[in-house]
């Protein structure tokens, strides 16, 4: 970049003078004042002086002063919060008319809910929740118990959310959520908010009872001042406030309960979550009453509003903290609507409930399947952070079980006698790999996929090293150790076998996430299904071996000890899972062959651009898998060879889709009591069924038009055949 004038270094006065900061070995301190003053007279607008290390980041960090999109320091509505307060922007009380006061507080509550949801979804705290002066300066409202306690509880809730997300550190690229920009978070004062809010709730309950009471009873309650002055509106306002207050209370309680170690607060958290969901329903129901008090702006506009009433709330200015939020460019953010914010919270609460309902079984198969299922509803950051903190605490699963015991359980081995094993270098490394894996699986799916691709290499290196070491030890092994009851080597050998299975599981998840993230284009499906087929085939082989080990070991235990009760449910569960893998293997084989045949017959586009070939696309998509030696041979060559001669004529003979269909039928019986799994398998069955029909039709009439669609399953395509 050349607009820039770099003066000759000789013109700079060297001043080695008494400088307290050392300049380093190969440099000296120099006075740049003459250079700068020369530059001032010489530089035109848009020119700058730069060093050799001037890069894109530096260029983009430059801002043009007084450009409202770049300059955070530009004064918007107010110069400071104090100025805003002095100008009467956020009065206390909001109005001397009690009815207007209550109405306005409800608007503030609604708008804060919107701000909170928008914040959770990735916008800055400073521009959302803390754009409210009443939240920023709660001490101003201490005489107004309702508004004061509500704002305190909002602040405490924000703190709880920041804490869970920053503890989980799932938040790479989502780190805006934890940035608090030095905003005032006074823990102690805010914690008292909940007590105050309880008292306020009690009062409003009494006010509600009073206004509904018959005149006789009312005399008894006469001393109680009503909420506001209009008796016709008293009941509606009381109800609208109560559900808002109760939601806040239960939400904070739920978050706190979920943080108790080892999932001990989950049962109670579920009760609070259920209350939250029902209060949100009441919130929605209160909208009609609140809207009836305002001038109607038309239904469509209301849908976009941030309050139930449709009014603008008092005391909010999103530019107030602009200077605090300097790392984010000064952009106006688009808040959700009030209805969308409620939808967000309902979804969040359902996700939190899913976590609390999870049975914390010390079974890795179970955990992994749960995490995959959990991701299907696309959970947001807050619930994912909670899940991660539950799964990994103090380096243990649920803060309770070491990964050695978890692995041993997977293989039905008893490790209780092998005291030294938990200090074994491979077991320690495995522990770390497992912790990393579980944390990654709680991250957002784009990041998760990238990380899974990268850790495959770590797992594979670990696997190779462990294989060599265990192999050598096995050769040297004397049966001495086994007699002492120490079966460490035997266990390590089994763990080694299981790691290979786990690597293929990670690889499969990596490939599947590509569909979820829309990373594959139709011309690439053939290679993707081929790769999935290769991985599934190996995964099936490894998993089947494990089932045999488990069954064998359980049988032996049962023989030795008559009273030993075999966990048949668990054995059935893994057998069923292995059958599902086999079913998916057939399905991906069928898809690969079908698409390859369509390509070979010119009925479906090949992946061809002017600058490269399919080979380069293949390399790019599967680079990370190949680095991890998955598979160990030249994958592209194998893919080309195995698909080059696929033809529609031979397709029905392979019966891959029929096999998949048959297996799916059997699996469905096993999953009869699990609606989520059942739906998944039913989808697979339908894909297989439709593809059998499509292949038969295509064989009879090659003039048919065919497209691949995901109507029955999110990543197994169905061939849709149409007359041209």
């Amino acid at each position: 970049m050349q607009p820039v004038r770099e003066e000759e270094s000789s013109s700079i006065q060297n001043d080695p003078g008494n400088c307290s900061i050392p300049s380093g070995d190969s440099s000296v301190w120099a006075d740049v004042s003459p250079l700068l003053s020369a530059a001032c007279t010489d530089l035109q607008e848009g020119e700058l002086i730069h060093g050799d290390n001037f890069n894109l980041f530096a260029a983009m960090s430059a801002l043009e002063i007084m450009d409202p999109k770049m300059d955070s320091g530009m004064v918007s509505a107010f110069y400071s919060i104090d100025e805003a307060i002095e100008s009467g922007f956020a009065p206390v009380p909001i109005s001397s008319d009690k009815t207007v006061n209550v109405e306005s507080i409800i608007d503030i509550m609604d708008h804060l809910l919107v701000c909170e949801a928008t914040w959770h979804m990735g916008h800055s705290l400073a521009q959302t929740v803390f754009s409210c002066i009443y939240v920023l300066r709660p001490e101003r409202t201490s005489s107004q118990a309702l508004l004061h306690s509500y704002c305190r509880v909002i602040r405490a809730t924000c703190r709880a959310v920041v804490s869970v997300v920053s503890d989980a550190r799932t938040n790479e690229e989502e780190d805006l959520l934890t940035m608090t920009y030095g905003l005032p978070f006074n823990g102690d004062e805010d914690a008292k908010g909940l007590l105050l809010l309880n008292a306020v709730e009690e009062t409003i309950c009494r006010q509600l009872r009073a206004c509904k009471a018959t005149s006789a009873k009312r005399r008894l309650l006469e001393e109680l001042e009503p909420l506001q002055t209009n008796p016709h509106l008293e009941e509606g306002f009381c109800k609208a406030l109560l559900c808002r207050i109760r939601f806040r209370k239960h939400f904070l309680h739920a978050l706190n309960c979920m943080r108790r170690p080892q999932g001990r607060g989950h049962e109670l958290a579920r009760k609070h979550i259920a209350s939250c969901i029902s209060e949100l329903q009441s919130l929605l129901e209160s909208a009609e009453f609140l809207r009836s008090n305002t001038v109607n702006n038309g239904e469509t506009e209301i849908e976009e509003r941030t309050t139930a009433s449709g009014r603008q709330p008092i005391g909010f200015d999103s530019t107030l903290n602009k200077r605090l939020s300097a790392p984010t460019p000064p952009r106006a953010i688009k808040l959700l609507s009030w209805k969308k914010a409620i939808d967000y919270f309902v979804k969040l609460l359902h996700n939190l409930d899913q976590i609390c309902a999870f049975s914390l079984e010390p079974d890795l198969d179970f955990v992994l399947q749960f995490v995959i299922q959990f991701h299907k509803s696309r959970p947001d950051l807050v619930s994912r952070a909670h899940l991660q903190l539950l799964l990994v605490q103090d380096g243990k699963l649920y803060g309770r079980d070491t990964f050695l015991t978890i692995c041993a359980r997977l293989l039905a081995i008893d490790v209780s006698k092998n005291h030294g094993l938990h200090l074994n270098e491979y077991i320690l490394q495995l522990n770390q790999l497992m912790i990393n894996l579980l944390k990654i699986l709680c991250a957002n799916t784009p990041w998760q996929r990238r990380k899974l691709g990268k850790i495959l290499n770590d797992w594979s290196i670990f696997n190779v090293q462990m294989g060599i070491n265990v192999g050598q030890l096995m050769q040297q092994d004397t049966s001495r150790s086994q007699k002492n009851g120490d079966r460490s080597l035997f266990i390590l050998n089994h763990v080694y076998g299981w790691i290979e299975e786990q690597i293929h599981w990670v690889a499969l998840r990596f490939l599947v996430l590509g569909f979820e993230l829309d990373l594959y284009s139709p011309s690439e499906y053939c290679m993707v299904y081929w790769y999935m087929y290769i991985i599934l085939w190996k995964l099936h082989e490894k998993a089947r071996l494990r089932v045999l080990i488990v069954v064998h070991s359980e049988e032996r235990k049962a023989k030795r000890n008559k009273e030993y009760s075999r966990d048949m449910a668990r054995e059935d569960r893994i057998s069923l899972w292995v059958l599902l893998i086999q079913c998916q293997t057939s399905l991906t084989q069928g898809l690969t062959l079908m698409i390859a045949a369509l390509r070979n017959e010119g009925m479906c586009l090949k992946s061809q651009g002017p600058f490269n070939t399919e080979n380069e696309k293949f390399t790019q998509h599967f680079e990370l898998l190949q680095k991890a030696s998955l598979p160990e041979y030249d994958a592209y060559e194998s893919f080309s060879k195995s698909t080059a001669h696929a033809s529609l004529d031979f397709l029905p003979a392979y019966e891959c889709f029929r096999d998949a269909q048959k297996m799916a039928k059997d699996i469905k019986v096993g999953y009869a009591n699990d609606p989520d799994k059942l739906a998944e398998v039913r989808g697979i069955e339908q894909v297989a069924e439709h593809n059998v029909i499509a292949v038969n039709l295509l064989c009879q009439d090659r003039s048919l038009k065919v497209s691949l669609e995901f109507t029955h399953h999110p990543y197994f395509a169905t061939a849709i055949v149409r007359r041209s």
């Binding site: 970049m1 050349q2 607009p3 607008e45 848009g46 700058l48 001037f54 890069n55 894109l56 260029a59 983009m60 430059a62 801002l63 043009e64 450009d67 999109k69 770049m70 979804m121 990735g122 916008h123 690229e173 989502e174 984010t328 460019p329 952009r331 688009k334 957002n444 799916t445 784009p446 990041w447 996929r449 990238r450 993230l517 829309d518 990373l519 594959y520 284009s521 690439e524 061809q608 651009g609 002017p610 600058f611 490269n612 070939t613 080979n615 380069e616 696309k617 390399t619 790019q620 998509h621």
Partner: protein, 187 residues
């Protein structure tokens, strides 16, 4: 950084003239085009960073003297690969859907390829169907999805085009050879 296709302008493809960046007089044309079409503001330093260092990768499209499209790129080392990067691509709405963007991108990619780049990358918004189709036709794959990449919370795809890998060793040998031959010749 690209936009989708909307209203059309009547013109003949042969009327479009393409030119490589040729100096400061082109800068305001590029800036006004990018400023009006893309949401993010760039300071003049960002534009200059690109066009001063890689003028050969920057192209402009003109119709009857009016600048209607532009592409701004860079290239350099990135984790042991020499990589081209498409930073900005704009064709104004009435001229979209007629292959102008494809032509601009193709010209830049050719220069990158000749300059020894091994791959080309860029980011595009996940719902920018037009741009995704354009780059898909040119052989780009969607290598990654970037969560909340844009300030509006939208995800992006990182698109990548890998050039065919040339068998390296023989090529280096032949280069050395020619160099040596030349040296011999001049000597």
């Amino acid at each position: 950084m690209e936009k989708s296709i909307e209203e059309k302008e009547e013109f003949d493809e042969s009327e479009i003239e393409y030119t490589s960046y040729a100096g400061e007089h082109h800068l305001p044309l590029i800036m006004s085009l990018v400023d009006q079409e893309l949401s993010e503001p760039y300071s003049i330093f960002t534009y200059r960073y690109f066009v001063y260092l890689w003028p050969q990768l920057c192209f402009l499209a003109f119709h009857k003297g009016r600048c209607i499209g532009t592409i701004v790129c860079k290239m350099g080392e990135h984790r042991q690969t020499y990589r081209g990067y498409i930073a900005m691509l704009v064709v104004i709405k009435p001229y979209r859907g007629r292959g102008i963007a494809s032509e601009l991108v193709t010209r830049s990619i050719k220069v990158m390829m000749e300059s020894g780049c091994e791959e080309v990358t860029l980011e595009a918004e996940v719902d920018n169907k037009g741009a995704l189709a354009l780059y898909g036709r040119l052989g780009f794959i969607r290598a990654k999805r970037l969560h909340h990449y844009y300030l509006n919370g939208m995800d992006a795809f990182r698109l990548k085009l890998l050039f065919p890998l040339k068998p390296r060793l023989p090529q280096i040998a032949s280069q050395d050879q020619t160099q040596q031959e030349q040296e011999n010749f001049t000597a």
